[in-house]
Protein backbone atom coordinates (compact mmCIF):
# COMPACT_ATOMS: atom_id res chain seq x y z
CA UNK A 1 0.00 0.00 0.00
CA UNK A 2 1.38 3.41 -0.90
CA UNK A 3 1.57 6.27 1.58
CA UNK A 4 -0.49 9.30 0.53
CA UNK A 5 1.55 12.45 -0.19
CA UNK A 6 -0.35 14.39 2.45
CA UNK A 7 -2.37 12.89 5.26
CA UNK A 8 -4.30 15.21 7.56
CA UNK A 9 -6.02 13.58 10.53
CA UNK A 10 -8.39 15.14 13.06
CA UNK A 11 -6.77 18.56 12.76
CA UNK A 12 -8.01 21.20 15.22
CA UNK A 13 -7.24 24.85 15.76
CA UNK A 14 -9.07 27.29 17.99
CA UNK A 15 -8.51 30.99 18.54
CA UNK A 16 -9.84 32.27 21.89
CA UNK A 17 -13.08 30.35 21.79
CA UNK A 18 -13.53 30.36 18.02
CA UNK A 19 -12.94 26.95 16.45
CA UNK A 20 -11.28 27.87 13.16
CA UNK A 21 -10.46 24.33 12.06
CA UNK A 22 -12.57 21.56 13.54
CA UNK A 23 -11.65 17.90 13.22
CA UNK A 24 -10.44 18.12 9.61
CA UNK A 25 -9.21 14.91 8.00
CA UNK A 26 -8.34 14.28 4.35
CA UNK A 27 -5.58 12.84 2.19
CA UNK A 28 -3.95 13.92 -1.06
CA UNK A 29 -2.29 11.51 -3.47
CA UNK A 30 0.76 12.41 -5.51
CA UNK A 31 -0.17 13.99 -8.84
CA UNK A 32 -3.61 15.16 -7.73
CA UNK A 33 -4.98 18.63 -8.25
CA UNK A 34 -7.56 19.31 -5.59
CA UNK A 35 -9.37 22.35 -4.28
CA UNK A 36 -10.80 23.60 -1.04
CA UNK A 37 -14.12 25.39 -1.38
CA UNK A 38 -15.94 27.33 1.26
CA UNK A 39 -17.42 30.69 2.17
CA UNK A 40 -15.36 33.40 3.87
CA UNK A 41 -14.35 32.41 7.38
CA UNK A 42 -14.73 28.70 6.69
CA UNK A 43 -11.17 28.10 7.92
CA UNK A 44 -9.47 27.56 4.57
CA UNK A 45 -6.54 29.90 5.04
CA UNK A 46 -6.14 28.79 8.68
CA UNK A 47 -5.91 25.22 7.37
CA UNK A 48 -3.13 26.31 4.96
CA UNK A 49 -1.30 28.05 7.79
CA UNK A 50 -1.49 24.85 9.85
CA UNK A 51 -0.21 22.69 6.99
CA UNK A 52 2.74 25.02 6.32
CA UNK A 53 3.80 25.57 9.94
CA UNK A 54 2.83 29.25 10.12
CA UNK A 55 0.41 28.25 12.87
CA UNK A 56 0.70 25.37 15.34
CA UNK A 57 -2.29 23.04 15.55
CA UNK A 58 -3.96 22.20 18.86
CA UNK A 59 -4.72 18.59 18.06
CA UNK A 60 -4.49 16.09 15.25
CA UNK A 61 -1.61 15.50 12.87
CA UNK A 62 -0.25 16.42 9.45
CA UNK A 63 1.90 13.85 7.70
CA UNK A 64 3.78 14.71 4.51
CA UNK A 65 5.39 11.81 2.66
CA UNK A 66 4.99 9.85 5.89
CA UNK A 67 6.79 12.46 8.08
CA UNK A 68 4.89 14.07 10.94
CA UNK A 69 5.13 17.84 10.40
CA UNK A 70 3.99 18.64 13.96
CA UNK A 71 6.37 21.18 15.51
CA UNK A 72 8.23 21.86 12.25
CA UNK A 73 9.00 25.47 11.36
CA UNK A 74 7.77 26.98 8.08
CA UNK A 75 11.18 26.89 6.39
CA UNK A 76 11.72 23.26 7.42
CA UNK A 77 8.40 22.29 5.86
CA UNK A 78 9.28 24.13 2.64
CA UNK A 79 12.56 22.26 2.52
CA UNK A 80 10.65 18.98 2.80
CA UNK A 81 8.87 19.91 -0.43
CA UNK A 82 5.63 21.57 0.69
CA UNK A 83 5.44 25.15 -0.61
CA UNK A 84 2.72 27.77 -0.49
CA UNK A 85 1.64 31.10 -1.92
CA UNK A 86 -0.11 33.84 0.05
CA UNK A 87 -3.60 35.16 -0.54
CA UNK A 88 -2.28 38.73 -0.58
CA UNK A 89 0.85 38.87 -2.71
CA UNK A 90 3.91 39.24 -0.52
CA UNK A 91 6.86 40.13 -2.74
CA UNK A 92 10.22 41.11 -1.26
CA UNK A 93 10.11 44.90 -1.57
CA UNK A 94 13.38 46.42 -2.72
CA UNK A 95 14.33 43.39 -4.80
CA UNK A 96 13.87 42.80 -8.53
CA UNK A 97 11.69 40.03 -9.94
CA UNK A 98 14.63 37.74 -10.60
CA UNK A 99 16.09 38.42 -7.14
CA UNK A 100 12.74 37.58 -5.56
CA UNK A 101 12.82 34.17 -7.21
CA UNK A 102 16.52 33.71 -6.50
CA UNK A 103 15.91 33.94 -2.75
CA UNK A 104 13.77 30.81 -2.97
CA UNK A 105 16.52 29.14 -5.04
CA UNK A 106 18.82 29.68 -2.05
CA UNK A 107 16.67 27.43 0.14
CA UNK A 108 18.81 24.48 1.29
CA UNK A 109 16.57 22.02 -0.58
CA UNK A 110 17.39 23.65 -3.92
CA UNK A 111 20.82 25.08 -3.35
CA UNK A 112 22.55 21.73 -3.05
CA UNK A 113 21.64 20.84 -6.61
CA UNK A 114 21.68 23.86 -8.86
CA UNK A 115 23.12 27.29 -9.51
CA UNK A 116 20.55 29.74 -8.13
CA UNK A 117 20.82 32.30 -10.96
CA UNK A 118 20.19 29.69 -13.65
CA UNK A 119 17.25 28.12 -11.90
CA UNK A 120 15.72 31.52 -11.15
CA UNK A 121 15.92 32.48 -14.86
CA UNK A 122 14.28 29.22 -15.90
CA UNK A 123 11.41 29.69 -13.48
CA UNK A 124 10.84 33.34 -14.32
CA UNK A 125 10.70 32.18 -17.94
CA UNK A 126 8.29 29.36 -17.15
CA UNK A 127 5.74 31.64 -15.47
CA UNK A 128 5.98 34.18 -18.31
CA UNK A 129 7.82 36.96 -16.50
CA UNK A 130 11.05 36.85 -18.52
CA UNK A 131 10.47 40.33 -19.94
CA UNK A 132 10.12 41.70 -16.38
CA UNK A 133 13.06 39.84 -14.83
CA UNK A 134 14.98 42.96 -13.83
CA UNK A 135 11.97 45.10 -12.90
CA UNK A 136 11.58 46.31 -9.32
CA UNK A 137 8.61 44.47 -7.80
CA UNK A 138 7.07 47.74 -6.63
CA UNK A 139 6.17 48.60 -10.22
CA UNK A 140 4.70 45.21 -11.12
CA UNK A 141 0.98 44.98 -12.01
CA UNK A 142 -1.12 42.74 -9.79
CA UNK A 143 -1.43 39.91 -12.28
CA UNK A 144 2.36 39.68 -12.55
CA UNK A 145 2.69 39.73 -8.76
CA UNK A 146 0.46 36.64 -8.68
CA UNK A 147 2.78 34.95 -11.17
CA UNK A 148 5.78 35.99 -9.11
CA UNK A 149 4.16 34.53 -6.02
CA UNK A 150 3.78 31.20 -7.82
CA UNK A 151 7.29 31.44 -9.30
CA UNK A 152 8.80 31.89 -5.86
CA UNK A 153 6.97 28.86 -4.51
CA UNK A 154 7.98 26.78 -7.55
CA UNK A 155 11.62 27.76 -7.11
CA UNK A 156 11.73 25.78 -3.86
CA UNK A 157 11.19 22.63 -5.95
CA UNK A 158 7.99 21.56 -4.18
CA UNK A 159 6.26 18.21 -4.42
CA UNK A 160 3.05 19.74 -3.12
CA UNK A 161 2.06 23.31 -3.88
CA UNK A 162 -0.63 25.10 -1.85
CA UNK A 163 -2.16 28.05 -3.72
CA UNK A 164 -4.19 30.42 -1.56
CA UNK A 165 -6.73 32.09 -3.87
CA UNK A 166 -4.42 32.42 -6.88
CA UNK A 167 -7.07 34.32 -8.85
CA UNK A 168 -7.96 36.84 -6.13
CA UNK A 169 -7.93 40.40 -7.41
CA UNK A 170 -7.41 39.44 -11.04
CA UNK A 171 -9.40 40.82 -13.96
CA UNK A 172 -11.35 38.53 -16.28
CA UNK A 173 -8.62 38.56 -18.92
CA UNK A 174 -5.89 37.54 -16.49
CA UNK A 175 -7.56 34.45 -15.07
CA UNK A 176 -7.45 32.15 -18.10
CA UNK A 177 -3.67 32.49 -18.69
CA UNK A 178 -2.94 31.89 -14.99
CA UNK A 179 -5.31 28.93 -15.00
CA UNK A 180 -3.39 27.56 -17.99
CA UNK A 181 -0.11 28.09 -16.16
CA UNK A 182 -1.31 26.09 -13.16
CA UNK A 183 -2.57 23.30 -15.43
CA UNK A 184 0.75 23.27 -17.32
CA UNK A 185 2.78 23.06 -14.12
CA UNK A 186 0.62 20.23 -12.92
CA UNK A 187 1.09 18.33 -16.18
CA UNK A 188 4.76 19.09 -16.81
CA UNK A 189 6.29 18.63 -13.38
CA UNK A 190 3.86 16.10 -11.97
CA UNK A 191 3.24 18.62 -9.23
CA UNK A 192 0.52 17.94 -6.70
CA UNK A 193 -1.58 21.06 -6.17
CA UNK A 194 -4.08 22.02 -3.51
CA UNK A 195 -5.79 25.35 -4.04
CA UNK A 196 -8.29 27.58 -2.32
CA UNK A 197 -10.55 29.57 -4.59
CA UNK A 198 -13.75 31.54 -4.63
CA UNK A 199 -14.25 31.80 -8.37
CA UNK A 200 -16.36 28.71 -8.86
CA UNK A 201 -16.21 28.42 -12.63
CA UNK A 202 -12.41 28.48 -13.06
CA UNK A 203 -11.99 26.45 -9.92
CA UNK A 204 -14.30 23.65 -11.00
CA UNK A 205 -12.59 23.38 -14.39
CA UNK A 206 -9.17 23.15 -12.79
CA UNK A 207 -9.55 20.61 -10.02
CA UNK A 208 -10.39 16.94 -10.10
CA UNK A 209 -11.53 16.77 -6.50
CA UNK A 210 -13.14 19.29 -4.16
CA UNK A 211 -13.12 19.45 -0.38
CA UNK A 212 -15.91 21.73 0.81
CA UNK A 213 -15.57 23.46 4.19
CA UNK A 214 -17.90 25.50 6.34
CA UNK A 215 -17.41 26.76 9.92
CA UNK A 216 -14.04 24.98 10.15
CA UNK A 217 -15.43 21.55 9.21
CA UNK A 218 -15.31 19.50 6.04
CA UNK A 219 -18.92 19.25 4.94
CA UNK A 220 -18.46 17.37 1.68
CA UNK A 221 -15.80 15.91 -0.57
CA UNK A 222 -16.01 14.63 -4.13
CA UNK A 223 -15.73 15.49 -7.83
CA UNK A 224 -16.72 19.02 -8.87
CA UNK A 225 -19.93 17.60 -10.37
CA UNK A 226 -20.91 15.92 -7.11
CA UNK A 227 -20.04 18.95 -5.01
CA UNK A 228 -22.21 21.46 -6.87
CA UNK A 229 -25.21 19.17 -6.31
CA UNK A 230 -24.39 18.35 -2.70
CA UNK A 231 -27.22 19.61 -0.44
CA UNK A 232 -24.94 20.89 2.32
CA UNK A 233 -22.77 22.84 -0.12
CA UNK A 234 -25.87 24.38 -1.66
CA UNK A 235 -27.09 25.28 1.78
CA UNK A 236 -23.72 26.80 2.76
CA UNK A 237 -23.60 28.93 -0.36
CA UNK A 238 -27.04 29.60 -1.69
CA UNK A 239 -29.07 28.91 1.43
CA UNK A 240 -27.15 31.40 3.45
CA UNK A 241 -27.19 33.94 0.67
CA UNK A 242 -30.97 33.70 0.62
CA UNK A 243 -31.06 33.95 4.36
CA UNK A 244 -28.80 36.99 4.20
CA UNK A 245 -31.20 38.64 1.82
CA UNK A 246 -34.10 38.22 4.19
CA UNK A 247 -32.36 38.81 7.52
CA UNK A 248 -30.11 41.69 6.54
CA UNK A 249 -26.77 39.88 6.49
CA UNK A 250 -26.91 38.18 9.89
CA UNK A 251 -25.70 34.60 10.03
CA UNK A 252 -27.91 31.81 11.34
CA UNK A 253 -26.72 29.74 14.28
CA UNK A 254 -23.92 27.30 13.45
Amino acid sequence: MTVPLLEVTHLNKRFAGLVAVNDVSFTLDAGEIAGILGPNGAGKTTLFNLLTGFLAHDAGSVRFEGHDLGGSLPHQIVNRGLARTFQLCRPFAGLSVIENVMVACLAPRVRRRERPERRAREIVDAVGLAHRADTAVETLPYGDLRRLEIARALATRPRLLLLDEPFAGLGAGEIAPLSDLIRRLHAAEGLTILLIEHRLREFMQLVSRVIAMDFGRIIASGTPGEIVRHPRVIEAYIGRAAENLTSGGAHGAA
Binding site: H75, A83, R90, F92, A93, L95, A104, L106, R152, A155
Partner: protein, 311 residues
Amino acid sequence: MVGDRMRGRQAAGMIVILAALAGLPLFVRSDYFLGILSVCFIYGIWATSWDFMSGLTGRENFGHALFIGAGAYTAAFLNGKLGTSPWWGLPAGGLAAGLISLVIGVPTLRLRGPYFALAMLAAATIMQRLTLIFWQYSGGEEGIPGLDPMFETKTAIYYLCLCGFVGITALLLLFARSPWGLILRSIRGDEAASQAAGIDVTFHKIAALVVSACCAGIGGVLYAHYQEAVTPDVFSVTLSITIIIMVYVGGIGTLYGPAVGAVLLALLPELLRGLGQYRLWVYSLVLIFILFFAPGGLIAPLWRRVAAGRP
Protein backbone atom coordinates in the same frame (compact mmCIF):
# COMPACT_ATOMS: atom_id res chain seq x y z
CA MET B 1 26.28 48.22 -20.70
CA VAL B 2 25.03 51.17 -18.73
CA GLY B 3 25.55 49.05 -15.64
CA ASP B 4 29.12 48.28 -16.67
CA ARG B 5 29.95 51.91 -17.27
CA MET B 6 28.37 52.81 -13.94
CA ARG B 7 30.36 50.13 -12.18
CA GLY B 8 33.50 51.37 -13.93
CA ARG B 9 32.87 54.93 -12.77
CA GLN B 10 32.15 53.73 -9.25
CA ALA B 11 35.38 51.71 -9.17
CA ALA B 12 37.32 54.71 -10.52
CA GLY B 13 35.74 57.01 -7.95
CA MET B 14 36.52 54.57 -5.15
CA ILE B 15 40.20 54.30 -6.20
CA VAL B 16 40.55 58.09 -6.31
CA ILE B 17 39.07 58.46 -2.81
CA LEU B 18 41.21 55.65 -1.37
CA ALA B 19 44.36 57.03 -2.99
CA ALA B 20 43.59 60.47 -1.59
CA LEU B 21 43.09 59.06 1.91
CA ALA B 22 46.25 56.95 1.67
CA GLY B 23 48.30 59.90 0.46
CA LEU B 24 46.88 62.38 2.95
CA PRO B 25 49.55 62.00 5.67
CA LEU B 26 52.19 62.99 3.08
CA PHE B 27 50.58 66.43 2.84
CA VAL B 28 48.89 66.88 6.20
CA ARG B 29 51.53 66.96 8.90
CA SER B 30 49.13 67.79 11.73
CA ASP B 31 48.97 64.95 14.25
CA TYR B 32 45.80 66.49 15.61
CA PHE B 33 44.00 66.30 12.27
CA LEU B 34 45.23 62.76 11.53
CA GLY B 35 43.91 61.77 14.95
CA ILE B 36 40.49 63.24 14.18
CA LEU B 37 40.39 61.35 10.90
CA SER B 38 41.36 58.11 12.66
CA VAL B 39 38.29 58.47 14.89
CA CYS B 40 36.19 59.25 11.80
CA PHE B 41 37.27 55.93 10.27
CA ILE B 42 36.34 54.14 13.50
CA TYR B 43 32.87 55.72 13.30
CA GLY B 44 32.80 54.46 9.71
CA ILE B 45 33.36 50.90 10.99
CA TRP B 46 30.56 51.31 13.53
CA ALA B 47 28.04 52.73 11.06
CA THR B 48 28.82 50.18 8.35
CA SER B 49 28.54 47.29 10.78
CA TRP B 50 25.22 48.65 12.10
CA ASP B 51 23.94 48.89 8.54
CA PHE B 52 24.99 45.34 7.74
CA MET B 53 22.61 43.86 10.31
CA SER B 54 19.89 46.48 10.63
CA GLY B 55 19.97 48.06 7.20
CA LEU B 56 19.89 44.77 5.33
CA THR B 57 17.43 42.82 7.49
CA GLY B 58 15.37 45.81 8.68
CA ARG B 59 15.72 44.91 12.36
CA GLU B 60 16.73 48.17 14.06
CA ASN B 61 19.39 47.95 16.73
CA PHE B 62 19.17 50.74 19.31
CA GLY B 63 22.19 49.64 21.29
CA HIS B 64 25.12 49.18 18.92
CA ALA B 65 27.25 50.77 21.66
CA LEU B 66 26.89 47.48 23.57
CA PHE B 67 29.23 45.81 21.07
CA ILE B 68 31.54 48.82 20.89
CA GLY B 69 31.84 48.91 24.67
CA ALA B 70 32.34 45.14 24.86
CA GLY B 71 35.28 45.44 22.46
CA ALA B 72 36.73 48.52 24.15
CA TYR B 73 36.52 47.15 27.72
CA THR B 74 37.90 43.77 26.64
CA ALA B 75 40.90 45.56 25.16
CA ALA B 76 41.26 47.69 28.28
CA PHE B 77 41.16 44.69 30.64
CA LEU B 78 43.69 42.77 28.57
CA ASN B 79 46.12 45.61 28.02
CA GLY B 80 45.46 47.86 31.02
CA LYS B 81 44.93 45.24 33.76
CA LEU B 82 46.71 42.13 32.46
CA GLY B 83 49.39 43.93 30.47
CA THR B 84 49.11 41.88 27.29
CA SER B 85 50.03 43.34 23.90
CA PRO B 86 47.38 45.71 22.48
CA TRP B 87 47.20 43.55 19.35
CA TRP B 88 45.55 40.73 21.30
CA GLY B 89 42.66 43.11 21.85
CA LEU B 90 41.58 42.96 18.21
CA PRO B 91 40.60 39.27 18.10
CA ALA B 92 39.55 39.20 21.76
CA GLY B 93 37.39 42.33 21.53
CA GLY B 94 35.74 41.11 18.32
CA LEU B 95 35.06 37.74 19.95
CA ALA B 96 33.65 39.27 23.14
CA ALA B 97 31.26 41.46 21.15
CA GLY B 98 30.23 38.46 19.02
CA LEU B 99 29.47 36.36 22.12
CA ILE B 100 27.40 39.12 23.70
CA SER B 101 25.46 39.49 20.46
CA LEU B 102 24.53 35.80 20.70
CA VAL B 103 23.22 36.32 24.24
CA ILE B 104 20.91 39.12 23.03
CA GLY B 105 20.16 37.82 19.54
CA VAL B 106 19.29 34.17 20.18
CA PRO B 107 16.32 34.83 22.48
CA THR B 108 15.02 38.02 20.82
CA LEU B 109 15.57 37.59 17.08
CA ARG B 110 13.30 34.55 16.92
CA LEU B 111 10.43 36.85 17.91
CA ARG B 112 8.79 39.44 15.75
CA GLY B 113 8.07 42.88 17.16
CA PRO B 114 10.30 45.32 18.99
CA TYR B 115 11.96 42.86 21.40
CA PHE B 116 15.36 42.90 19.73
CA ALA B 117 15.52 46.70 19.44
CA LEU B 118 14.46 47.13 23.08
CA ALA B 119 16.76 44.40 24.38
CA MET B 120 19.73 46.06 22.68
CA LEU B 121 18.84 49.46 24.11
CA ALA B 122 18.39 48.00 27.60
CA ALA B 123 21.53 45.84 27.48
CA ALA B 124 23.77 48.75 26.48
CA THR B 125 22.31 50.91 29.26
CA ILE B 126 22.69 48.12 31.82
CA MET B 127 26.32 47.60 30.83
CA GLN B 128 26.98 51.30 31.27
CA ARG B 129 25.50 51.09 34.79
CA LEU B 130 27.53 47.96 35.55
CA THR B 131 30.77 49.78 34.76
CA LEU B 132 29.82 52.19 37.58
CA ILE B 133 28.60 49.53 40.03
CA PHE B 134 31.70 47.35 39.64
CA TRP B 135 34.02 50.33 39.75
CA GLN B 136 36.77 48.36 41.50
CA TYR B 137 37.28 46.40 38.29
CA SER B 138 36.10 48.82 35.62
CA GLY B 139 37.35 52.09 37.07
CA GLY B 140 33.87 53.61 37.39
CA GLU B 141 33.39 57.02 35.80
CA GLU B 142 37.12 57.34 35.25
CA GLY B 143 37.28 54.15 33.25
CA ILE B 144 40.57 52.41 32.61
CA PRO B 145 43.35 54.82 31.63
CA GLY B 146 46.93 54.22 30.60
CA LEU B 147 46.44 51.83 27.68
CA ASP B 148 49.28 51.38 25.21
CA PRO B 149 48.76 52.83 21.75
CA MET B 150 48.87 50.33 18.90
CA PHE B 151 51.63 52.36 17.24
CA GLU B 152 53.89 55.15 18.41
CA THR B 153 53.16 57.69 15.67
CA LYS B 154 49.80 59.23 14.78
CA THR B 155 50.53 58.55 11.11
CA ALA B 156 50.84 54.81 11.72
CA ILE B 157 47.62 54.83 13.79
CA TYR B 158 45.93 56.70 10.96
CA TYR B 159 46.90 53.96 8.52
CA LEU B 160 45.80 51.26 10.94
CA CYS B 161 42.35 52.82 11.31
CA LEU B 162 42.10 53.44 7.57
CA CYS B 163 42.97 49.79 6.85
CA GLY B 164 40.49 48.56 9.45
CA PHE B 165 37.77 50.78 8.01
CA VAL B 166 38.41 49.90 4.37
CA GLY B 167 38.92 46.21 5.12
CA ILE B 168 35.75 45.83 7.18
CA THR B 169 33.67 47.90 4.73
CA ALA B 170 34.97 45.86 1.78
CA LEU B 171 34.26 42.58 3.58
CA LEU B 172 30.73 43.60 4.55
CA LEU B 173 30.02 44.89 1.02
CA LEU B 174 31.21 41.55 -0.34
CA PHE B 175 28.80 39.74 2.00
CA ALA B 176 25.97 42.14 1.14
CA ARG B 177 26.36 41.49 -2.58
CA SER B 178 26.62 37.72 -2.16
CA PRO B 179 23.65 35.33 -2.04
CA TRP B 180 23.76 35.78 1.72
CA GLY B 181 23.12 39.50 1.30
CA LEU B 182 20.14 38.69 -0.91
CA ILE B 183 18.72 36.47 1.83
CA LEU B 184 19.17 39.25 4.41
CA ARG B 185 17.45 41.78 2.13
CA SER B 186 14.55 39.37 1.60
CA ILE B 187 14.03 39.34 5.37
CA ARG B 188 13.71 43.12 5.28
CA GLY B 189 11.23 42.80 2.41
CA ASP B 190 8.90 40.29 4.08
CA GLU B 191 9.93 37.92 6.83
CA ALA B 192 7.02 35.48 6.43
CA ALA B 193 7.50 35.31 2.66
CA SER B 194 11.18 34.62 3.27
CA GLN B 195 10.22 31.67 5.46
CA ALA B 196 7.83 30.49 2.77
CA ALA B 197 10.79 30.59 0.37
CA GLY B 198 12.52 28.04 2.60
CA ILE B 199 14.84 30.47 4.39
CA ASP B 200 15.70 29.98 8.07
CA VAL B 201 15.23 33.65 8.89
CA THR B 202 16.12 33.36 12.60
CA PHE B 203 19.48 31.78 11.81
CA HIS B 204 20.36 34.37 9.19
CA LYS B 205 19.37 37.31 11.40
CA ILE B 206 21.50 35.99 14.26
CA ALA B 207 24.45 35.31 11.94
CA ALA B 208 24.24 38.84 10.54
CA LEU B 209 24.11 40.25 14.06
CA VAL B 210 27.21 38.30 15.12
CA VAL B 211 29.16 39.58 12.10
CA SER B 212 27.95 43.11 12.80
CA ALA B 213 28.89 42.84 16.47
CA CYS B 214 32.39 41.47 15.79
CA CYS B 215 33.13 44.38 13.46
CA ALA B 216 31.76 46.94 15.93
CA GLY B 217 33.81 45.32 18.71
CA ILE B 218 36.99 45.58 16.64
CA GLY B 219 36.14 49.24 16.09
CA GLY B 220 35.77 49.56 19.87
CA VAL B 221 39.24 48.08 20.41
CA LEU B 222 40.77 50.53 17.93
CA TYR B 223 38.97 53.36 19.70
CA ALA B 224 40.18 52.31 23.16
CA HIS B 225 43.80 52.16 22.05
CA TYR B 226 43.50 55.36 20.05
CA GLN B 227 42.29 57.15 23.19
CA GLU B 228 44.68 55.11 25.36
CA ALA B 229 41.72 54.82 27.77
CA VAL B 230 38.11 53.65 28.03
CA THR B 231 35.25 55.35 29.83
CA PRO B 232 31.62 54.18 30.33
CA ASP B 233 30.63 56.54 27.48
CA VAL B 234 31.44 53.80 24.99
CA PHE B 235 28.19 52.12 26.13
CA SER B 236 26.11 55.31 25.89
CA VAL B 237 22.75 55.69 24.19
CA THR B 238 24.12 58.87 22.63
CA LEU B 239 26.74 56.87 20.79
CA SER B 240 24.16 54.31 19.58
CA ILE B 241 21.85 57.03 18.32
CA THR B 242 24.69 58.95 16.68
CA ILE B 243 25.57 55.84 14.70
CA ILE B 244 21.97 55.36 13.56
CA ILE B 245 21.84 58.98 12.41
CA MET B 246 25.06 58.50 10.46
CA VAL B 247 23.53 55.48 8.73
CA TYR B 248 20.36 57.35 7.79
CA VAL B 249 22.35 60.28 6.46
CA GLY B 250 24.50 57.94 4.39
CA GLY B 251 21.59 55.91 3.00
CA ILE B 252 20.40 52.89 4.95
CA GLY B 253 20.99 49.45 3.46
CA THR B 254 23.76 50.49 1.09
CA LEU B 255 26.77 50.06 3.46
CA TYR B 256 28.99 52.39 1.42
CA GLY B 257 26.60 55.28 2.10
CA PRO B 258 26.78 54.89 5.89
CA ALA B 259 30.56 54.33 5.64
CA VAL B 260 31.07 57.70 3.93
CA GLY B 261 28.28 59.42 5.85
CA ALA B 262 29.82 58.41 9.18
CA VAL B 263 33.25 59.75 8.27
CA LEU B 264 31.78 63.07 7.12
CA LEU B 265 29.40 63.45 10.05
CA ALA B 266 32.13 62.55 12.54
CA LEU B 267 34.25 65.25 10.95
CA LEU B 268 31.45 67.82 11.04
CA PRO B 269 31.54 68.64 14.79
CA GLU B 270 35.29 69.20 14.52
CA LEU B 271 34.71 71.63 11.70
CA LEU B 272 31.89 73.27 13.69
CA ARG B 273 33.72 73.10 16.97
CA GLY B 274 32.25 76.40 18.13
CA LEU B 275 28.86 74.74 18.53
CA GLY B 276 30.15 72.69 21.46
CA GLN B 277 27.28 71.29 23.46
CA TYR B 278 24.81 71.97 20.64
CA ARG B 279 26.29 69.11 18.63
CA LEU B 280 23.37 66.79 19.36
CA TRP B 281 20.94 69.54 18.43
CA VAL B 282 22.65 69.87 15.09
CA TYR B 283 22.64 66.11 14.60
CA SER B 284 18.96 65.91 15.44
CA LEU B 285 18.11 68.74 13.09
CA VAL B 286 20.18 67.15 10.33
CA LEU B 287 18.33 63.88 10.86
CA ILE B 288 14.93 65.54 10.75
CA PHE B 289 15.80 67.45 7.61
CA ILE B 290 17.19 64.40 5.89
CA LEU B 291 14.26 62.17 6.81
CA PHE B 292 11.97 64.88 5.54
CA PHE B 293 13.70 65.92 2.35
CA ALA B 294 15.82 62.88 1.47
CA PRO B 295 14.38 59.76 3.07
CA GLY B 296 16.83 57.60 1.12
CA GLY B 297 19.77 59.44 2.70
CA LEU B 298 22.28 61.79 1.09
CA ILE B 299 25.46 59.95 0.26
CA ALA B 300 24.19 56.81 -1.49
CA PRO B 301 21.75 58.56 -3.90
CA LEU B 302 24.38 61.20 -4.66
CA TRP B 303 27.00 58.54 -5.37
CA ARG B 304 24.62 56.72 -7.71
CA ARG B 305 23.89 59.94 -9.61
CA VAL B 306 27.55 60.79 -9.99
CA ALA B 307 28.36 57.25 -11.07
CA ALA B 308 25.57 57.30 -13.65
CA GLY B 309 27.09 60.47 -15.11
CA ARG B 310 24.09 62.70 -14.36
CA PRO B 311 24.68 66.19 -13.03
